[in-house]
C-alpha cells in the first residue's frame, strides 16, 4: 500500500509535469490574403509574416499583429501599391511554437518566394528562425523585444520592438530626476522578468543606482507578500516590479495590503488596459515606461509621433472595432518601413536589406523614431518610451 502511494506520487507528479508541457493544442488557420484592391496591377510583391496567431504565449501579440499587417497591406494597395504593384502579405501562424516557426520560415522562403518577412511575434520563435534567414539571405523584421535578436548585429535580421534595455535606461533616467537611488526589485521568473532583472543589474552602476534586494515570483503565484516584506526589510527608496499580467497586478494589490509607502515602478509589461482592470484601485500611482500608443491622445501636440499614432488608431478602430496596442504597432512599423524602402529599391531581398540599413533615418513609427544603421538594426533610443502613471483608474503622463 505505502509503496503503492509512493509509486503513485512519482507517477502522478511526472504526469502533471507532462500535462504542463503538453499545453493546449492550437488549430491551424491558413490565412487567405485579402485580394488587392485599387489601381495597383501586375505581379504582386509577396511579403511573409510569421505570427503567433494562436498558442497561449503568443496569441495576445500575434492577433493584433496579423490584423495590422493585413490592414497595412490594404492601405498600401488602396494607395496604388508599391511601384504600381500590389502587395500580398502571406500570414503563417507559428502557434507560438519554435518548430512551427521554423517550418513557416522554410515555406515562405522556398515555396512562396517572399522578398522579406515580418515577425515572428516572440523572442523564442524569432531566435529559432534567425539562422534560416541569414542562410537564405532574406531580410527578417522581427516584432519581438529580446536584445539578443539585434545584438550582436546579424546581417539580415532587424527588429521594430523596443528592447528591455532601453526601457530600463528610460526608467533609470526618470528615477534619477526623482532623486531615487536605492531600489528593491521583484521580478517574474519567466524570460521577460529575468531579462528585465539582467538589464536592471547591468545598467545600475552606470546610472548611479543600487539594487539593495531582488526577489522573484512564479508567473502563476497568487501571493507576493512574502517577497515584498523581504524587500521592505532592505529599506529601498523605490520598488521596481518586472513582469507581465497577472503577477504585477497581484504585486500592486499586495503593496497596498502591506502599506508600503515607497514609490512603485513597473515595466512596459503592464502597459495595457488589462493591468488597470486586474489591479483596480491598487494601480493608482504606479509608474512605468510605456510605448506611446497607450497614451496617444494625451500626448502634447508637439510630439513628433502623435500624428502617426492617431492615424494608426483611427484606421485600426474603424476596421476592427477595438483600440490598437503596442504589438500591432510593431507590425505597422515593420510594414511601413518595408513600404518606404521598396518604393525606392524594389523587391530584391538584397536591395531591401541595404535600404533598411541606409534609408531608414528618423523614421517616425508607432514604437518610436527609428534610425537604422549597419551597427544598429533596431534603431530606437530611450525616447521610444514615455513615463506613464495611473490616476484614478485612468492613464496619465508622469511628466
Amino acid at each position: 500500500m505505502f509503496t503503492m502511494i509512493r509509486r503513485l506520487t512519482l507517477l502522478t507528479l511526472s504526469l502533471a509535469a507532462l500535462a504542463l508541457l503538453a499545453g493546449c493544442p492550437a488549430k491551424v488557420t491558413p490565412v487567405t490574403p485579402t485580394p488587392p484592391q485599387g489601381v495597383a496591377s501586375g505581379e504582386p510583391i509577396k511579403i511573409g509574416a510569421i505570427l503567433s496567431v494562436t498558442g497561449a504565449a503568443g496569441a495576445p501579440l500575434g492577433t493584433p499583429e496579423k490584423n495590422t499587417a493585413l490592414m497595412v497591406q490594404d492601405l498600401i494597395n488602396q494607395a496604388g501599391g508599391i511601384q504600381n504593384r500590389p502587395v500580398q502579405v502571406i500570414v503563417e501562424d507559428d502557434q507560438s511554437d519554435n518548430t512551427q516557426a521554423a517550418t513557416a520560415a522554410k515555406k515562405l522562403i522556398e515555396s512562396d518566394k517572399v522578398c522579406a518577412v515580418i515577425g515572428p511575434s516572440l523572442s523564442g520563435t524569432t531566435l529559432a528562425v534567425v539562422d534560416t534567414f541569414e542562410k537564405a539571405e532574406i531580410p527578417l523584421i522581427s516584432l519581438a523585444a529580446s536584445v539578443k535578436i539585434t545584438q550582436p548585429v546579424k546581417k539580415w535580421i532587424f527588429s521594430t520592438a523596443q528592447p528591455d534595455t532601453i526601457a530600463v535606461t528610460r526608467l533609470y533616467s526618470y528615477m534619477k530626476t526623482q532623486g531615487l537611488r536605492k531600489l528593491g526589485v521583484i521580478y517574474d521568473s519567466n524570460a521577460f522578468g529575468k531579462s528585465g532583472l539582467e538589464a536592471l543589474q547591468s545598467q545600475a552602476s552606470s546610472a548611479g543606482m543600487e539594487i539593495v534586494a531582488s526577489e522573484s515570483f512564479e508567473s502563476k503565484d497568487t501571493d507576493m507578500t512574502t517577497q515584498l516584506t523581504k524587500l521592505k526589510g532592505a529599506q529601498p527608496e523605490a520598488i521596481v516590479c518586472w513582469g507581465t499580467n497577472p503577477g504585477p497586478a497581484i504585486v500592486a494589490k499586495n503593496v497596498k495590503t502591506l502599506q508600503i509607502k515607497v514609490p512603485v515602478f513597473m515595466s512596459h509589461g503592464v502597459s495595457n488596459q488589462k493591468f488597470i482592470e486586474l489591479s483596480g484601485p491598487a494601480a493608482d500611482g504606479i509608474i512605468f515606461p510605456s510605448g506611446r500608443i497607450l497614451v496617444a491622445s494625451l500626448l502634447p501636440e508637439t510630439d513628433q509621433q502623435k500624428l502617426v499614432l492617431l492615424e494608426y488608431t483611427k484606421f485600426y478602430e474603424e476596421k476592427y472595432r477595438q483600440l490598437p496596442d503596442h504589438f500591432g504597432g510593431h507590425a505597422w512599423d515593420a510594414m511601413r518601413m518595408l513600404q518606404q524602402v521598396m518604393n525606392v529599391s524594389g523587391d530584391e531581398p538584397a536591395a531591401i536589406r541595404e535600404g533598411l540599413e541606409t534609408k531608414i533615418k528618423d523614421f517616425v513609427g508607432i514604437s518610436g523614431i527609428f534610425s537604422l544603421s549597419p551597427t544598429d538594426h533596431n534603431g530606437l533610443t530611450q525616447d521610444a518610451f514615455v513615463m506613464v502613471t495611473v490616476k484614478q483608474g485612468q492613464w496619465a503622463l508622469a511628466e
Partner: protein, 294 residues
C-alpha cells in the same frame, strides 16, 4: 522589523496553506471513495473562479450569488465527468483512470481557454474593508475569508463523513467496495457523489481565491500540484491531514521564500515532501489506512 516580517511570512503561509488544504480535501474526497488521484481537481478550482467572474462581470449577478452559483455548476461538471469518463472505465487499472483524469484536466483547460481566452480576470474582494493590522504585519480581508472558508468546509466534510448516511456509505465504499455493494450500497452512485463533492469543494476554493489570484484558464495546474503535495504530506484520504499538509506546504513556501530564497520556494516545499515520503510513506497523520487493492 524582524518580528513583524516573521509574522507576515506566517500569515501569508497560512493563507496559502488554507488554499492548498482546500485542494487537498478535494483530492481526498475522490481518493477515499475511488482510489483515484483526480488530476482535474485544479481545473475544478479554475472553473469555480472563472464562473464566479463570469456571473459577476458578464451576467451582473450580485457578488454573493456569483460566488455560490458556480458551486452547483462545478458539482454537475464533477458528476458529469464521473458518468462520462470514469464510470465507463471502472474495470480498467487504477493507472488508466488516473491517466483519464490527466486527460480531463487538459480538456477542461482547453475548453476554458476557448471560452475565456488566455486573459486573467478580476473579482472584487468579498468584504470591502481595509487590510487588518496584526503585530506589525497586515492581512488582506480576503485572506481571512480564505482561512474561514477552508476551516468551515473541512469541518463540514468531516461531519458529513462521520454522521450522515451518505457520508458513511461513501466511507464504506472506500474501505471495502465489495462488502459495501453486498450491504446494498450503490457503489457507482457513491463514486459519482465523490466527484460531485470534489467539484463543489473546488468551486468554493476557486471563488474565494478569485479576488486574490485573478484566475485565468491555467490557474489550476500549479495549485493542483501544491494541493496534491499537501494531501500526500498529511496522509492521503485524511482530512485533518489535508489541513496540516496544506498549512505545512504554505508555511514552508513562505518561510523558505522569506529566509532562504524566493527563487527556490517551490523546490523547498517539494524537497520536504520527498523527505517525508521517505521517512513516513503513509503521510504524517495516516496510521493504518488500508483498502482493497483488487
Amino acid at each position: 522589523m524582524e518580528w513583524s516580517a516573521l509574522v507576515q511570512y506566517v500569515l501569508t503561509g497560512i493563507t496559502q496553506g488554507a488554499i492548498y488544504a482546500l485542494l487537498a480535501v478535494g483530492f481526498n474526497l475522490v481518493y477515499s471513495a475511488t482510489g483515484i488521484i483526480n488530476f482535474a481537481q485544479g481545473e475544478f478550482v479554475m472553473l469555480g473562479g472563472m464562473l464566479a467572474v463570469t456571473c459577476y462581470s458578464f451576467l451582473h449577478l450580485p457578488l454573493w450569488l456569483s460566488a455560490i452559483l458556480p458551486i452547483g455548476v462545478v458539482m454537475l461538471v464533477g458528476a458529469g465527468i464521473h458518468q462520462l469518463a470514469i464510470r465507463p472505465l471502472r474495470h480498467a487499472h487504477l493507472v488508466t483512470l488516473i491517466m483519464a483524469t490527466v486527460g480531463l484536466s487538459v480538456a477542461l483547460r482547453g475548453l476554458a481557454k476557448v471560452l475565456w481566452g488566455a486573459d486573467s480576470y478580476p473579482l472584487p474582494a468579498f468584504s470591502n474593508v481595509d487590510p487588518v493590522a496584526l503585530a506589525g504585519a497586515s492581512v488582506d480581508p480576503q485572506s481571512l475569508w480564505v482561512m474561514g472558508v477552508a476551516a468551515v468546509t473541512g469541518t463540514a466534510l468531516t461531519l458529513f463523513f462521520r454522521y450522515s448516511l451518505t457520508g458513511r456509505a461513501m466511507t464504506a465504499c472506500a474501505a471495502r467496495p465489495l462488502a459495501a455493494c453486498l450491504a446494498g450500497i450503490r457503489v457507482e452512485r457513491m463514486n459519482m457523489w465523490a466527484f460531485a463533492l470534489a467539484g463543489g469543494v473546488g468551486a468554493i476554493a476557486g471563488a474565494v481565491l478569485a479576488p486574490i489570484a485573478l484566475p485565468s484558464f491555467d490557474v489550476g495546474t500549479s495549485l493542483a500540484l501544491k494541493g496534491f503535495c499537501a494531501a500526500i504530506l498529511g496522509g492521503i484520504g485524511n482530512n485533518a491531514g489535508a489541513l496540516l499538509g496544506g498549512l505545512l506546504v504554505g508555511l514552508l513556501e513562505s518561510l523558505g521564500a522569506g529566509y532562504i530564497s524566493s527563487g527556490y520556494k517551490d523546490a523547498i516545499a517539494f524537497l520536504v515532501l520527498l523527505i517525508v515520503l521517505v521517512l513516513r510513506p503513509q503521510g504524517l497523520l495516516n496510521v493504518t489506512m488500508r483498502r482493497d487493492e483488487s
